[in-house]
């Protein structure tokens, strides 16, 4: 997330939903934040920040503030795809100038790896464990980036820390956008996905190369792929790097992989079509 902040050349105010990021960076009396920061609750980073942004406009209008300030909200996938979706949707519709960044680690990590609607099909979490009866999550992941694009806001992007330049340039575009912008950032989580921390970047990259997490942006309704893998790898390549998918390689769970591959292919084709 620091990468996002580094990309900002105007002072920013940050709002954060409850989640790993917030818990890891602020424990009274310590804060890791060097910019103004507010955490209100789990589900309302977008609405809280929309209040802050409005306050800013009110004071600007009255000449009580002169400086330019940008506003960034951070939320995990739980705080964005699930419990905070409505607040985000509302803020976007109202048109606040703010960047909402979802750091998507595909589960509720802070509370110990429960499924979210961002959890991919087949992944095991503590609330959709791989058990005798059920092979992990039985639903496909919500495609939040697409949902946000359907909000017709001026800027929507999907990116990954695996590709630093992509992330930075998208952040800069987003912050320049006069109106709401949304960025979905895949954020591999060693603990929740079960892999050694040093593979973080590799796994982020693999998600992109398997087209499970394509990098693209939607600018004023125009779709554009920002990176096209030289070779589209099978999702298996990505799945096998992570313990949460280990059960898929056992017994007759192979078909879940096929299902997942089919869905990835379908969405990828759709994306290719839209961005052509």
């Amino acid at each position: 997330m620091r990468q996002v902040l580094l990309a900002a050349d105007t002072p920013v105010v940050v709002a954060n939903a409850t989640g790993c990021l917030e818990v890891a960076t602020t424990i009274f009396p310590y804060t890791a934040w060097r910019c103004p920061f507010i955490h209100c609750a789990f589900e309302n980073a977008a609405s809280t920040l929309s209040g802050v942004e409005t306050a800013y406009r009110a004071l600007k209008k009255k000449g009580k503030i002169s400086q330019d300030i940008r506003f960034i909200a951070f939320g995990g996938d739980g705080g964005t795809y699930d419990i905070g979706l409505q607040a985000l949707s509302g803020a976007c519709e109202r048109g606040h100038r703010m960047l909402y960044v979802c750091y998507d680690n595909q589960a509720y990590m802070n509370t110990g790896i429960q499924r979210s609607s961002a959890t991919p099909l087949g992944a095991a979490t503590t609330t959709c464990p791989a058990g005798k009866l059920l092979p992990g999550k039985s639903q496909n992941r919500k495609d939040l980036t697409e949902i946000m694009a359907a909000h017709h806001i001026p800027y929507v992007a999907q990116t990954s820390p695996g590709r630093w330049n992509d992330l930075v340039s998208k952040t800069q575009t987003a912050l320049r956008t006069e109106g709401p912008s949304f960025m979905n950032v895949l954020s591999p989580c060693p603990r929740g996905w079960r892999f050694p921390p040093n593979e973080t970047i590799k796994i982020a990259q693999l998600a992109v190369d398997t087209c499970l997490w394509p990098l693209y942006e939607v600018v004023e309704g125009k779709w554009r792929l920002t990176y096209r893998p030289k070779q589209k790898l099978p999702v298996e390549e990505w799945l096998k790097t992570q313990g949460r998918f280990a059960h898929l390689f056992k017994g007759d769970n192979q078909q879940v992989i096929e299902q997942l591959q089919a869905e990835v292919d379908r969405r990828w084709e759709e994306l290719l079509e839209k961005s052509s």
Binding site: T25, F28, P29, Y30, T31, A32, P196, P197, N198, I201
Partner: protein, 103 residues
């Protein structure tokens, strides 16, 4: 005012706010580390990839050059070693052996 574990209710800032930005750096977490990244200055090309990816902001950069590692906060995750280009491999992870230099 510095807040310590002894600070009583009368002295806390109102509303639970933390007034001092970025004071988490006073909170030394380096001892949580099991492995320690060691950078070989000779090999390093200052590509800054490790700086970009370090989750704990522990690679210290001055004038676009790496000048050191902040062992007070580095948690030893090894990401820097991983992202350092394979041809270069300027960072290696070495096991902490504090046991040995126990005072």
């Amino acid at each position: 005012m510095k807040i310590t574990p002894d600070t009583g209710w009368k002295k806390l800032p109102q509303g639970g706010v933390i007034l001092e930005a970025g004071n988490a750096e006073q909170y030394i977490t380096g001892s949580w580390r099991t492995f320690r990244p060691i950078r070989d200055e000779q090999k390093c090309t200052n590509c800054l990839l490790c700086w970009i990816h370090c989750p704990d902001s522990s690679i210290i950069v001055e004038n676009a050059k790496i000048v050191g590692i902040d062992y007070d906060h580095c948690k030893g995750c090894g990401i820097c070693a991983e992202v350092c280009p394979p041809r270069i491999k300027a960072i290696t992870m070495v096991e902490e052996r504090k046991t040995d230099d126990l005072k």
